[in-house]
Amino acid sequence: MKALLIRDLRLALRSGGGFGLGLAFYLMVVVLTPFAIGPGRAGLTSVAPGILWLAALLAALLTLERLFALDAEDGSLEQLAMAMPLEAAVFAKALAHWLTSGAVLAALGPPLGVLLALPLEGALPLFWALLLGSPALSFIGAFGAALTVAVRRGGLLLSLLVLPLYVPTLIFGAEVARRGAQGLDYQAPLALLAALSLGCVAAMPFAAAAALRAGLR
């Protein structure tokens, strides 16, 4: 499993710089926001947490889409299936994905929040929300990616399948960040968010592996 984790990290890094790339991508989304909604601080403050979550979601969709599809096309997936339990393979791949997307974003979220005029006391909740919430995005996305391999209908379907699954995570995540920014108590949604992530990390590899197995047939 470690070997697969390393391979996937390497593949991600080779496609243009890994962590630096994630940083640049999030920065870019943040830079676009004031162009869209105007440079006024009030407007920015109100959308900041939402925009950051949107960026996280987009980064997940953009990079997960072909996570299994590429391996399935070139025959790597069947080789993996013969070499190790597919559940472990899914776990390693989703973890690698999270390390290069969600984890980067959690670290960057607070400074990016400052750019979007998020009040300083909102930085910590935002960090926690992103850190605890983003694993759910990677693991749910892995399930979606596995499904598209199974239905052999090409990867666009993936986004369509996964988007609704992302809704709870995003709602809780944005709620934590918003309450934090307004100085309210954010324990409850944060706990829910963490529970959601934990559930996804635990369960999704099994669902995804089942889907992949169906896809190999």
């Binding site: 710089g17 640049a24 920065l27 830079v31 400052v114 750019l115």
Partner: protein
């Protein structure tokens, strides 16, 4: 030794290694010397501005860095054109060498500006057109570097990054105009218009600033040339390694 037929001779890799080898010590000396002179003069021997107080001293770094950040992109644009039209291999490598240096200049401009903004405007960051264009410039640099990194075939990477640099330049200009349209902004206008020669800044601050600007320019050129030489050697090395592998 044949006669120097045209200026393009200097871009032949071997010639390039030759003349840059001779020029570099001078470039380093002038660059570092002028930077030191200008910065020491500006930091220790000029007084404070009546509005900005001692923060005016930041100008001696902020402006030269901003200048070189923009010129670095021009250099990449020119190198890209030369590579696509004349296919001088060294020009692709100069573009590649300029990007990280330009990025660092951009970062220096951003960081000093942000630190300056806190006392002057009461905020680290405002979505002012000039500031925003500058941030986008940093992202252009990052994209360019990332594309170089992502493509292993060097000639292909040279072609694609050159196309990116050219199309990117067009859009950078467009963005600049669009950004004016979008927001008026806090940042002051250009006070040393190079084109017209006039200036609105006091002589008192001007001379040390001018010296650091020249110093930064030479420092920039020296860094780019060293990096370009390294790239030439790296290419040669990979050719040798491929040959030894067969």
């Amino acid at each position: 030794m044949h006669a120097m037929g045209s200026i393009w001779e200097y871009a032949n890799p071997r010639k390039f290694m030759g003349w840059t080898g001779h020029a570099l010590p001078w470039l380093w000396a002038i660059g570092l010397g002028l930077c030191a002179l200008g910065l020491v003069w500006g930091f220790f021997f000029t007084g404070d501005d009546f509005r900005m107080g001692s923060t005016v001293k930041i100008i001696y770094i902020h402006v030269p860095a901003a200048l070189m950040a923009i010129n670095g992109y021009f250099l990449m644009f020119a190198a890209a054109l030369i590579w696509l039209i004349r296919r001088q291999p060294v020009s692709a490598l100069v573009g590649r060498a300029a990007a990280p240096v330009g990025l660092v200049m951009t970062l220096i401009g951003l960081v000093t500006g942000a630190i300056w903004g806190q006392p002057m405007w009461g905020t680290w960051w405002a979505w002012d057109p000039r500031l925003t264009s500058f941030l986008i410039l940093a992202l252009f640099y990052l994209g360019y570097i990332a594309l170089w990194e992502a493509i292993s075939d060097q000639d292909l990477a040279g072609d694609l990054t050159a196309m990116l640099a050219i199309v990117g330049s067009v859009f950078a200009v467009l963005s600049r105009y669009a950004a004016r349209f979008w927001n008026q902004g806090l940042h002051q206008g250009t006070s040393v218009p190079v084109v017209t020669g006039g200036r609105t800044i006091d002589d008192y601050f001007f001379w040390p600033l001018a010296i650091t600007m020249v110093g930064f320019f030479f420092l920039f050129v020296a860094l780019v040339l060293v990096r370009a030489r390294t790239e030439v050697r790296a290419r040669r090395l990979s050719v040798l390694q491929a040959r030894q592998a067969i």
